[in-house]
């Protein structure tokens, strides 16, 4: 009987899925792969499926939950950064930019030591990378649910010792709930432990005359809600970050937007300066064009994150605060 030729999408490597995804498992061009187009030899393969083979499970590389943080916090000097802001304001893009600048050795001398969330970082970066086959950079929206943390240990530059950086990412919808009912901030575990609060202002919305006033009002609502909870704001460094600077530059009067943002910073310091000092930053984490480079302004923000908590003695001397670390453990227990 005449042998039929192997289908063009087959591969002699039984592990290759070229018939499903059209790609060589080795990463080769199909014309380069010596196995492509040949039938696999399964005569020696056991009848049982691969799923039944025993495996040893290795540590995850996904986002960390609140309960997974204490062990990291105990291991070395650490900075917990709470990043909050409305949906689409660029929280995850900001985190992705920190990681991408590390990959390029462009974080002002800060260098990579370790991370237990590499898969999470890569997922956050993916849709702004060429491999996504997108034509416009994009960042997948953070799912609702409890805060999750990205983890990276850094040294060098402003990090004179090995420092664990934990970046809290919470869905914007929950921030929006808290703007309407500030008691929700009490449930934000990351706020209780944060060394630095980072509040994002959507540059694109601030630049749009239809949305700029509500954008400014939301910032005031956020600060008011935190101000009425002294344990969340007192003694903490606060970064107010204008995002999407590339999109701001695309509007006719970008100087007015920058001036408006600076006025917001000044107003927040005026209204709430008794509890915290607000510092303004302008970033373009994932620019869409060539007007600014990838991660513009992010290095300055990371330097701010690296600073030790000011007025730590003031916080510790306040009644009923206990040790900061115990405070976090209590916060963890309260949200479990």
């Amino acid at each position: 009987m005449e042998m039929l030729p192997a289908p063009a999408t087959s591969c002699a490597n039984p592990m290759c899925r070229v018939s499903a995804d059209g790609k060589c498992i080795e990463g080769l061009q199909l014309t380069e792969c010596s196995q492509y187009g040949r039938l696999p030899d399964l005569s020696g393969m056991p009848a049982e499926s691969a799923m039944e083979k025993p495996v040893v499970h290795l540590p995850s590389a996904q986002l960390l939950s609140v309960t997974e943080l204490p062990i990291l916090l105990r291991a070395s000097s650490s900075q917990v950064i709470a990043i909050i802001g409305p949906t689409g304001s660029g929280k995850t893009s900001l985190i992705a930019a920190v990681y991408d600048l590390l990959q390029l050795s462009r974080l002002n001398g800060a260098t990579y030591v370790a991370s237990s969330t590499l898969h999470a970082f890569e997922l956050a970066c993916h849709d702004a990378r060429a491999q996504s086959r997108r034509t416009t950079p994009y960042t997948v929206r953070t799912r609702r649910g409890d805060v999750r943390f990205y983890h990276v240990d850094l040294i060098g530059g402003v990090f004179d010792t090995r420092t664990t950086l934990l970046l809290g990412d919470r869905a914007g919808e929950e921030y929006e709930l808290a703007c309407d009912d500030a008691s929700h901030f009490d449930d934000f575990a990351e706020l209780h432990r944060a060394d630095c609060l980072t509040i994002l202002v959507d540059g694109k919305k601030l630049a749009d005359t239809k949305t700029r006033h509500n954008t400014i009002n939301n910032v005031t609502l956020t600060f008011q809600g935190l101000f009425e909870r002294p344990s969340l704001l007192t003694g903490r460094r606060v970064a107010l970050v204008l995002t999407k600077w590339d999109e701001v530059l695309a509007v006719e009067d970008s100087a007015r937007v920058e001036s408006s943002f600076n006025a917001i910073v000044e107003r927040m310091n005026g209204l709430f300066g008794s509890q915290a000092t607000v510092t303004g930053f302008i970033v373009a984490a994932s620019p869409h064009g060539d007007s600014v480079s990838l991660g513009s302004g992010v290095s300055d923000l990371v330097e701010f994150w690296s600073q030790r908590r000011m007025a730590m003695a003031k916080v510790l001397s306040s009644p009923n605060t206990g040790r900061l670390f115990d405070h976090f453990d209590a916060a963890v227990e309260s949200v479990l």
Binding site: M15, V56, L58, P59, D100, Q103, Y112, S132
Partner: protein, 303 residues
């Protein structure tokens, strides 16, 4: 006799098997002076080594280790002082290591294979996937389109991103440096850690990148900056040395190749097949593929 095992680590198609094939030829043929020398044949079957060395000598591409599974290689050698040394290392499919990164799991047998304090990490110098961004690709496309438009006057401004074009993330898409850092981090932590390790980083197919005029260490810093940072900042755990190796010297023929390729023809012209090999160690060049292994043996990584 000192008995030592060495971990051979690398993603798929990183050049592990080609190195072993060339190494076995260099040792058996004794065409060159090498730091580690052939002593005697190991007990048991050397069929695997003989077969891969045959393909190497004939200038044929090696078959995928994925098809044949892990092979345990044992070499009985003499070190530079004349002491007998037994080296054991598994030639495991790169897919096993890729699964560790992607699926966060491995087979129990692999754990036994990676328990040594001495590691050789293979990286194909010409297949490093660096991170690339949409904005950078768009910039290139715009330049190309502009050049084409000047000739054809076509309008490309209304291209729309189709949903079917978008590729979802999988760990396999991570840049090479991230996958390698992820792999090494796994080896440094539970359940795979054995404490500090000595790591020989071997850039295979070095001939394809030699025009860069970089030393292997410089090549690591320029092309894999995250990995370079990781190794520098974890020097208490990883004692590192970099090599550039061209074990083939050129492209080899595939099994179904009808007309031999120029690289294979050139390779077969060498009277001594060992002369196809180039190893770069800092500023030094040789054909001695045993140098990385001898360095790994020189002193234990643990204190």
């Amino acid at each position: 006799m000192t008995e030592t095992s060495i971990v051979i680590l690398g993603l798929p198609a990183s050049g592990k098997t080609t190195y072993l094939a060339a190494l076995w030829h260099v040792l058996m043929s004794r065409e060159l002076v090498t730091e580690l020398k052939f002593d005697k044949l190991p007990m048991g079957d050397v069929k695997y080594l003989n077969r891969i060395a045959e393909r190497w000598r004939d200038a044929y591409v090696q078959g995928r280790t994925a098809l044949s599974g892990t092979h345990i290689v044992k070499l009985l050698l003499k070190d530079p002082s004349g002491e007998a040394v037994s080296l054991t290392f598994p030639d495991a499919p790169g897919e096993e290591f890729r699964d560790m990164w992607e699926l966060r799991q491995c087979e129990p047998s692999i754990i036994e294979h990676i328990r040594s304090e001495r590691v050789v990490l293979f990286i194909h110098a010409d297949r490093i996937e660096a991170p690339r961004w949409v904005v950078d690709e768009n910039r290139v496309i715009k330049r190309l389109e502009k050049a084409v438009d000047q000739v054809t006057e076509d309008d490309h401004s209304n291209q729309v991103e189709g949903e079917s074009d978008i590729v979802d993330w999988t760990p396999k898409l991570a840049p090479t440096q991230v996958q390698l850092v992820g792999l090494l981090q796994l080896l440094a932590g539970a359940p795979l850690t054995v404490g500090p390790r000595r790591l020989a980083v071997v850039f295979s197919a070095w001939d394809l990148v030699a025009d860069n005029m970089l030393t292997p260490e410089q090549f690591l810093a320029v092309n894999l900056p995250l990995l370079d940072q990781f190794l520098r900042n974890n020097a208490n755990f990883w004692d590192v040395k970099c090599y550039g190796i061209s074990a083939q010297g050129s492209k080899y023929d595939k099994d179904d190749q009808v007309t031999p390729c120029a690289g294979a023809i050139k390779a077969r012209e060498h009277d001594l097949p060992s002369n196809r090999i180039k190893l770069v160690d800092g500023a030094e060049t040789s054909s001695d593929l045993t140098r990385p292994l001898n360095w790994l043996l020189e002193k234990s990584a643990s204190k």
